[in-house]
């Protein structure tokens, strides 16, 4: 099987699935006669997207910016904090359970509180995105670094490596695949976090991000526009997820088992 045929299949099947769902949805709406303010047809959603393209594009850019910055902050903070926690056994025992519990706090519930601490608009979207994205990164980093092969730990001990040197040359590279997985999850969550932040403090008017567009369309009973904005939210999520996956793959492809096996097969 050629690489191109494999790529066509990898993209083709999901696209076919999407097409089937859209066609079924369109005919379902047309045949059942369900009111458009309850469930618009894909065609109506596409029309709303096209008619509001300028407004939606600017809203999408704002939401993407908030999510991306929030994600970057979470990645940096989670990686750093996770490493420190993994490195110091006392911290790992005391803080790791706490981090897991904090992960359960729903950001929608605390968002109105956050509003008291940071400015409205972008800063709030960033903070909200960073909060939901932080814990997957933190947990993946800690888990990844705590799961280093004990045999390799022993090898480093045998050669008298200091704890810091061991972290840099063993723990960190070992945990990269796990951290990359955590980052991919965080990328998707960051967009949700940003939209939640926008729900409580996004700017209205011409500076509206997707969260506000959704609210405004909802109160205007523009269900088609609500769907269009939600669809674009998932596009932002996919884009961020894709970008992070690509970077992760570039980082770990050198030694990730699957990547190595691929190169072996090609030879």
């Amino acid at each position: 099987m050629s690489a191109r045929a494999a790529a066509v299949r990898a993209v083709g099947w999901p696209l076919l699935g999407v097409a089937i769902v859209l066609v079924a949805w369109q005919f379902g709406v047309m045949l059942s006669g369900v009111a458009p303010y309850l469930l618009p047809s894909p065609a109506a959603i596409a029309r709303a997207m096209w008619e509001g393209r300028d407004m939606l594009a600017s809203a999408m850019a704002r939401t993407a910016l908030g999510a991306a910055i929030g994600f970057a902050c979470a990645a940096a903070a989670g990686g750093l904090l996770g490493s420190v926690i993994a490195l110091i056994p006392f911290l790992r025992r005391s803080l790791y359970p706490l981090a897991t519990v904090l992960q359960m706090v729903p950001v929608v519930a605390v968002a109105p509180l956050l509003q008291l601490w940071v400015d409205n608009g972008l800063p709030m979207a960033i903070l909200s995105a960073a909060i939901v994205a932080l814990f997957p990164v933190l947990a993946a980093t800690i888990d990844g670094q705590a799961s280093v092969d004990p045999g390799l730990r022993e090898l480093f001990k045998l050669h008298g490596a200091t704890r810091l040197r061991r972290w840099w040359k063993l723990d960190l590279p070992w945990s990269l695949p796990a951290t990359a997985t955590g980052l991919r999850i965080a990328a998707g969550l960051a967009v949700i976090g940003a939209v939640v932040g926008e729900f409580v403090s996004g700017y209205g008017g011409t500076r509206a991000p997707l969260g506000i567009v959704i609210q405004a369309a909802m109160r205007d009973a523009r269900t088609d526009l609500v769907f269009a904005a939600v669809a674009l939210t998932t596009v932002v999520g996919f884009a961020l997820f894709g970008a992070v996956s690509l970077v992760g793959w570039l980082l770990v492809r050198r030694w990730h088992a699957s990547a190595v096996n691929d190169s072996e097969e090609r030879r």
């Binding site: 390799l152 022993e154 008298g160 040359k169 063993l170 590279p173 770990v252 096996n261």
Partner: protein, 249 residues
Amino acid sequence: MIPAPPTLRFDCVAREFPGGVRAVDGVTLSLSPGSFTAVIGPSGCGKTTLIRLAAGLDVPTAGRVDAGTTKRSCSLCFQDPRLLPWRRVVDNVALPLELVGVPRARRHASALEVLQAAGLAHASRMLPAQLSGGMRMRVALARALVTQPQVLLLDEPCSAVDEFTRMQLDAEILRAWRACGATTMLVTHSVSEAVWLADRVVVMAHGRVHADHTVRVDRASRDRSDSAFLGEVEHCMRLLAAASGKAAA
């Protein structure tokens, strides 16, 4: 000028684990400079604990281990290769030097040198996942040699490879020992391997030395099919069987 290798001494060494299990229970042994000693014994006899004590990965609960030298010139080759999967072969071999701060160019040259001597120069740019199990073990052995150790500890290096690879690896171990002249201690399951490689075979059981046998076949004329060699193997087998019986009793 490389200093003369030291004597590796075990003085009434004991290691008791929590729960009262005595893996090593009063071992006294002296491995003379530059000698090759094999330790055999049934599973759980304490031979791996003994070699870990020698390497400093564990500390005895009684007695003392004296490798007669600094820790740095003592090397251990584990049962499994333990290579870092994201590093090329040459960087894996250079790791022990890297960890004590040898500059990049110098440790690279040393690593290439031991790889060359082991006939692995062609694999130096490969990743561990691209190597066979036997090759990985040979890389691990090269890594143990890169520091030019004066005490070389081998913990069942051939336990996970097939018979043919084992013979290759044994030849490689012998060549390395001759080249560096280190005081060497090999832990193994295989009696014939022990007789083929060592000057002296120590049989352990129940954490104690059960027998201590000097191999009577001249090193130069060791041949796996020779009757004198096979006689020595048989003798050691009997010692092992006696030790196992005692352990079971």
